[in-house]
């Protein structure tokens, strides 16, 4: 009898560290799941409302978050430069709205049109990031800010000012520059409406999810191919990759181009659901929210998977919906909740990048001491 007791105790002791290890390894998603549950209890939100809001937001944002995976695998870290992909999509959107192509054909034209643009932008981004090895993330962030200036120059002054463009519905009254908001009437729900399920408040855009799933599988498949192997090899060690005959710089540029194209399509899916283009604002937070999402899912600077992207998007957007409601209930001020989620987005990026840098520093020190 005593023996049996000891055995169970031993089993328990073996089992306990497993849970503990698993918890520690997944500490970020666990903390956010707990935060979401506490917030939901405080807000006393209707489950169906939560479910439908999260479903819509997942459909809007998943592809944007997926677009971060390839650069992470290639060792470029989190590509804040996906903002440029979003810009490519918006340039294509304005063109298609101008030509008044509507429905699913309009959506396909926009998606095709955004490809050459994002290849070009991705190529430029990749070249710049190759000149800033070791500082890719902050460089891609600054590149996003810089590109935003050029984007505004294009949309506020060049269109109508230098490139003639006549269209009263999207141009400012002076005839120079694009309006602050452009209604995408012809393209609204262009993709969602192909197949969707409606039940009470709950709307599930099945077709959009199918497209997103196909993209996810495509990313997975791509990483299995020879190209994928080479990308991963570059991500593990640039010197070894170089020695084994891989053109490192070219691989890095390829990764950024792929990421930019996916981001452009992601932004298209996002905007066709919203139906309104905030010409000067829709793209600004894209990088921030996508990066925060994937990190909340447990990804790091060097490792990111489709699963982490899905989990992270779910948790981040749940928190996004819940926190203003919780803020309202808790202190009678929804604004507090809005600041809280901005705090969470910035904080989680700072914290997880910081933890990663710290671990890297400690690993380097241990190696040195050995």
């Amino acid at each position: 009898m005593k023996n049996a007791e000891i055995k169970t105790q031993q089993k328990r002791m073996q089992f306990m560290p497993d849970i503990k290890k698993g918890l520690i390894r997944n500490i970020v998603p666990v903390v956010f799941a707990v935060l979401c549950i506490i917030g939901a209890c405080i807000a006393q939100a209707r489950p169906l409302f939560l479910l439908s809001s999260v479903t819509i937001r997942m459909a809007r944002n998943l592809l944007l978050v997926f677009s971060l995976i390839i650069p992470v695998v290639t060792g470029l870290g989190l590509n804040f430069g996906i903002v440029l992909g979003a810009m490519a999509a918006q340039i294509a959107l304005v063109a298609v709205t101008h030509w008044e192509i509507t429905g699913i054909s309009g959506f396909i034209v926009t998606a095709l049109l955004s490809v050459p643009l994002s290849i070009f932008f991705g190529w430029l981004t990749g070249r710049i990031l190759n000149r800033a090895k070791g500082n890719e993330m902050i460089t891609s962030m600054m590149l996003g800010f810089f590109a935003n200036g050029l984007y505004q120059l294009l949309f506020l002054f060049v269109l109508g000012g230098i490139i003639p463009m006549v269209n009263k519905t999207i141009m400012l009254p002076s005839g120079i520059g694009i309006k602050n908001t452009v209604a995408l009437r012809g393209l609204k729900y262009a993709l969602d409406n192909v197949i969707k399920i409606e039940y009470d408040d709950l709307i599930i855009p099945i077709f959009t999810f199918i497209v997103i799933a196909v993209m996810a599988l495509a990313i997975k498949f791509l990483l299995q191919t020879k190209l994928g192997q080479e990308l991963r090899c570059v991500g593990q060690d640039m010197n070894i990759a170089e020695a084994s005959g891989i053109d490192v710089d070219k691989m890095r540029i390829t990764a950024v181009i792929l990421s930019t194209i996916l981001a452009a399509w992601g932004q298209l899916i996002h905007l066709q659901n919203i139906g309104i283009l905030q010409t000067y604002g829709s793209h600004e937070q894209v990088g921030l929210f996508a990066v925060a999402s994937i990190l909340i899912g447990g990804a790091t600077v060097t490792k990111a998977t489709i699963g982490q992207a899905i989990l992270g998007t779910f948790l981040f957007h749940s928190l996004f919906i819940i926190s203003p409601m919780a803020g309202q209930k808790l202190v009678g001020e929804p604004q507090v909740g809005e600041y809280f989620r901005a705090f969470v987005a910035y904080g989680v990026i700072g914290l997880s990048l910081g933890l990663h840098a710290w671990q890297k520093q400690q690993a380097a020190r241990n190696k040195f001491e050995e």
Binding site: N135, M142, G149, A357
Partner: protein, 347 residues
């Protein structure tokens, strides 16, 4: 001859040459458009004085090896809290400004120490982590501004609405206290001697500090950490000294800025305040590894001159839209981007 010329340009820095040429074009067009040159020149001086301390805050952080201090909002918020507390204590004029500085500096020493500890744990990634540390502190403080139990009618909304106002007027506290001090109008230019004198004293102080024993130790850590370690200097300690100094200058800098602007900006306003300061010192010729007081003064002057002159010129040429704002975004972010691609090496 050609080679010497090229060497001169390399030493002088392409960015500076481009900015000076651009500024020259703008000034010529300002003359051609018959804009008020006197108000432009006076504006440049005031804006330079107003922003100088924020740019100066980059010097200790670059010298101590933590790179450009993108976490400047940490210091800025200390100064803002100092100002809010001094208004809450119902102080006015010089007393209010002095109290705000004292509280701001005390807070900045503590915050800078904590921030320095953080930066020591993330070597090589200070700029990225600093940016997000700054962003999250700013958004965290947004919650504080809403929930803070201040009652001073100068700061809360006149009716309804919870929390502090987005901008707090400093008109009857310490607005313009330095700008008005020793302000002398001349025929061609108005010179705010008080403001310029105040900020130049701090430049002198930082210059003297960089000649002191601690200052030299700090610069050694920044330029050659292995040598510093061999010489028995505490690397982490010196980096913390640099970060504290930078944070303190950020706190004092925002108070100079606010008194000149006439308003204290709360909530999300400090979010992007590090970027103009970073751009200014880079325009002055600094790099991520090297910075001096000359870089600060030249850079702030050139950058602010550009902004001051660009606004009326672009408005005269193209009244629609806000071209000068777009130009500002492109120039300041473009210069930071250029500097980042020239760090070289990496880890």
């Amino acid at each position: 001859m050609g080679q010497k010329f090229r060497q001169f340009i390399d030493n002088f820095g392409y960015t500076r040459i481009v900015i000076i040429l651009f500024l020259f074009v703008l000034l010529v067009s300002a003359f051609a458009l018959e804009l008020q040159i006197k108000s432009l020149l006076s504006g440049i001086l005031i804006r330079t004085g107003m922003n100088l301390l924020l740019t100066l805050a980059m010097v200790p952080s670059i010298q101590s090896g933590t790179g450009l201090n993108f976490g400047l909002p940490v210091g800025i918020l200390c100064g803002v809290v100092g100002a809010v507390l001094s208004i809450a204590m119902n102080l006015t004029g010089g007393q209010a400004f002095f109290a705000a500085n004292v509280i701001g500096v005390l807070l900045a020493v503590v915050a800078g120490y904590v921030y320095g500890l953080l930066l020591n744990r993330v070597k090589n990634q200070e700029m990225l982590i600093g940016t997000y540390a700054g962003f999250s502190v700013v958004s965290g403080m947004c919650m504080f501004w809403i929930l803070a139990p201040f009652r001073s009618p100068k700061m809360i909304w006149p009716y309804g609405g919870r929390g502090l106002r987005v901008t707090v007027s400093l008109e009857d506290t310490f607005g313009g206290i330095l700008n008005k001090f020793l302000f002398r109008p001349y025929k061609w230019i108005d010179i705010p001697w008080g403001l310029l004198g105040y900020v130049l004293i701090f430049c002198l102080f930082i210059w003297l500090f960089s000649r002191s024993k601690t200052g030299i130790a700090m610069q050694t850590v920044g330029s050659n950490p292995r040598f510093a370690e061999a010489a028995g200097i505490s690397i982490d300690g010196m980096r913390i000294v640099g970060t504290i100094l930078s944070t303190v200058l950020g706190a004092m800098g925002i108070l100079v800025y606010a008194q000149s602007y006439g308003f204290l900006q709360l909530y999300t306003a400090p979010l992007y305040m590090a970027f103009p300061a970073v751009a200014a010192i880079l325009i002055g010729g600094a790099t991520v590894h090297k910075a001096s007081i000359t870089h600060v003064i030249i850079g702030t002057f050139l950058f602010q001159a550009l902004l001051v002159v660009a606004l009326p010129v672009t408005n005269a040429v193209l009244p629609e839209g806000n071209l000068s704002e777009v130009v500002r975004i492109i120039i300041s972010n473009g210069i930071i981007l250029y500097a980042l691609t020239r760090i070289g090496g990496g880890d």
